[in-house]
């Protein structure tokens, strides 16, 4: 060890370990330099708020991917929970709190269903969640009769607060995102659940032979993903004032993108929510700065794809 110190090696090591973070810093500095509008409190808070929904979903997705799974149904669950909450508020005559709990419970339940089918049916997560993605989306259309459930003036103030409110200068969605992030970080670092998630993703057979009830913890992880999606969904309908069955189309891919940019391996067992956090913020800043610069939308999409590839290349070299 002693011999390997040297400025070059230190720089190399720092680069290898923290390149995602450095990527964020570089993007941040670049953005500040090229656009005067970027580096304002208002814009940055906006960016963070924009990131919140995808960020929360991506954190849940990180758990799933760490167990070497995938959850394609997050966008559909987002829509279903949104429709359910809006419908119950508008037609069900329920107060905000019961609706909130029903909504979160529904998200949890849908995730749990994913987990149950995956573990008990022994079907690949990709296939199961591909199927539930379609079915749950259909269920949302059925429930909403294909029309937006407009809350408008009837939006409870508490819901409005979750979607649009501020605590001091910080938007509430950002606070919720940070809470979910910090909680998840704690779970992965300091709890038995976190240990097991890494163990299952790293080597499922080894985990099983160490006495871990693998099926149970997989179900927990998918439930957690569903629950986090439900939290994001509440924020979304708070912002939109509408529960709509076409909410969150393609969000599963945004979430997976954030997770992958954050250095988590799709093979499972390797990765952190901190990386995912950075990944989500990078995607948010990228979209923001490209809009600020007036870059055409088609080009934006090409760039985002490129960024994902670069990020994966970097994290590959790292490991």
């Amino acid at each position: 060890m002693e011999k390997s110190f040297g400025i070059k090696k230190i720089i190399k090591r720092i680069w290898e370990r923290y390149n995602i973070l450095l990527g964020l810093v570089v993007l941040f500095i670049f953005s500040s330099l090229v656009s005067g509008a970027f580096l304002t409190a208002r814009n940055l808070l906006n960016v963070m708020r924009q990131v919140s929904i995808n960020g929360i979903i991506a954190v849940g997705m990180t758990f799933v991917i760490l167990t070497a799974g995938i959850d394609l149904s997050v966008g559909a669950i987002l829509a279903m929970v949104g429709c359910l909450c809006a419908g119950l508020l508008k037609f069900g005559g329920l107060g905000f709190l019961p609706v909130l709990f029903i909504g979160l419970g529904a998200g949890l339940l849908m995730g749990m269903m994913n987990g149950l089918v995956i573990t008990k049916g022994k079907i690949q997560p990709f296939i199961v969640t591909l199927a539930t993605m379609t079915s749950i989306r259909g269920l949302a259309f059925l429930y909403s009769k294909g029309r937006p459930i407009v809350l408008g003036e009837e939006t409870p103030s508490a819901l409005l607060f979750l979607g649009e409110g501020y605590v001091g200068p910080i938007p509430v969605p950002v606070l919720l995102f940070l809470s979910v992030f910090i909680l998840s970080s704690f779970i992965l670092r300091r709890t038995v659940l976190g240990r097991y998630v890494y163990a299952i993703g790293g080597n499922e057979e080894a985990a099983r032979l160490s006495g871990i009830n693998v099926d149970f913890f997989k179900i927990v992880v998918y439930s957690l993903s569903g629950l986090f999606v439900a939290v994001a969904s509440v924020i979304a309908i708070g912002r939109l004032g509408v529960g709509n069955a076409d909410l969150g189309l393609g969000y599963e891919l945004n979430a997976i993108a954030a997770v992958v940019i954050g250095g988590t391996s799709l093979m499972g067992g390797i990765g952190t929510v901190e990386g995912t956090f950075i990944g989500a913020v990078i995607l948010g800043i990228l979209s923001n700065i490209l809009n600020l610069l007036g870059v055409g939308s088609f080009f934006q999409q090409i760039l985002k794809g490129g960024i994902i590839i670069i990020a994966v290349l970097l994290s590959k070299r790292r490991s």
């Binding site: 509408v242 901190e274 990386g275 950075i278």
Partner: protein
């Protein structure tokens, strides 16, 4: 472990830096030209691309006066909200927006409007009156027009297929409701099937193929746009079904050509109003008074008048 701690600290440090820079900086940008921002809801259908292209053309006529930026909401309300926020951060002088949906975009548009930025809503309006001017045609009325046309073309009654746009989207709902408000009261005509094809040609083709298998008698097809009408026509042609009334909406070049060839029965031009939007924008910024609502008239186009509208070099 060490690595993770470092990463975590890194995040905290970067937050700190962000905060530091935020509070020590303020925006100083000098502008000569006026900056108009346009938030388009999606760019996946040709009608909306045409809208943007025509708007760019209108801007070109005022080169030197106007700077123009646009964003693409990618068919996602939440993305479009972010776009409006970004345009606002950018410091636009006026916002033109074609909201993907009314209710979700209302709040963010209100915020922009209340900050003193004039707002022109295009094609679709918002639910409050926090906008300067709305320019658009009525989908409901076009739907009514299509319903009346279908009724008159199917004098002896008949069985009609409705090919819908994106489920849950406002124009889909309005085009459908308008159509049904007329057709449902006509006893001889029944809508025997309806399916969404997302305003796209290829899904419409498949849906029509399926209907042709399951329904021995189809007299009319009402498609929520021309793309889907053209898809349905392809399926009809493959099965050699003739004399079926097919009505589309939008008035795109290919639809006109199809009318001239005697295939498509009729279409309703759905004006995008983008040229008007730029004119109105300039008026607003010069302090002139503009009407709060400008309704664009739709025009039914069939074989008798198609030559008046067909422009071979048009984009759309």
């Amino acid at each position: 472990m060490l690595k993770k701690v470092f990463l975590f600290k890194g995040i905290l440090i970067s937050f700190f830096l962000v905060g530091l820079i935020v509070f020590s900086s303020c925006q100083k940008a000098e502008k000569k030209k006026i900056l108009i921002g346009f938030s388009q809801s999606t760019m996946i259908d040709p009608w909306r691309i045409n809208m943007l292209e025509q708007m760019k053309d209108a801007v070109k006529e005022h080169e030197g006066e106007i700077d123009f930026v646009f964003t693409d909401g990618q068919n996602d309300n939440i993305k479009q909200i972010s776009d409006v926020e970004d345009l606002f951060s950018r410091g636009i002088d006026l916002l033109i927006i074609s909201p993907r949906e009314a209710e979700p975009l209302t709040s963010v548009i209100e915020r922009v409007f209340k900050a003193g930025i004039p707002v022109i809503t295009l094609d679709r309006n918002i639910t409050s009156d926090s906008y300067t001017c709305f320019i658009g045609a009525s989908n409901f009325r076009i739907g009514e027009g299509a319903g009346r046309l279908m009724t008159s073309l199917l004098e002896k009654g008949g069985q009609v297929i409705e090919i819908e746009g994106i489920l849950g989207a406002t124009p889909t709902i309005d085009r459908s409701d308008g159509f049904h408000s007329v057709i449902d009261s006509i006893p001889g005509i029944q809508v025997i099937g309806k399916q969404p094809a997302d305003y796209l040609r290829e899904p419409a083709l498949k849906i029509m193929e399926d209907f042709l298998q399951s329904q021995p008698r189809i007299d009319g097809v009402y498609a929520h746009n021309d793309e889907m009408a053209l898809g349905a026509l392809t399926a009809l042609k493959a099965e050699d079904r003739e004399g079926v009334v097919v009505i589309g909406i939008d008035g795109q070049k290919e639809a006109f050509e199809s009318i001239m060839a005697g295939k498509l029965s009729a279409t309703f031009i759905y004006p995008n109003g983008s040229a008007q939007a730029i004119e109105i924008a300039l008026k607003i910024l010069k302090g002139e008074k503009v009407p709060k609502n400008i309704e664009l008239k739709s025009q039914m186009v069939n074989k008798s008048n198609v030559h008046l509208f067909y422009k071979p070099d048009s984009y759309f």
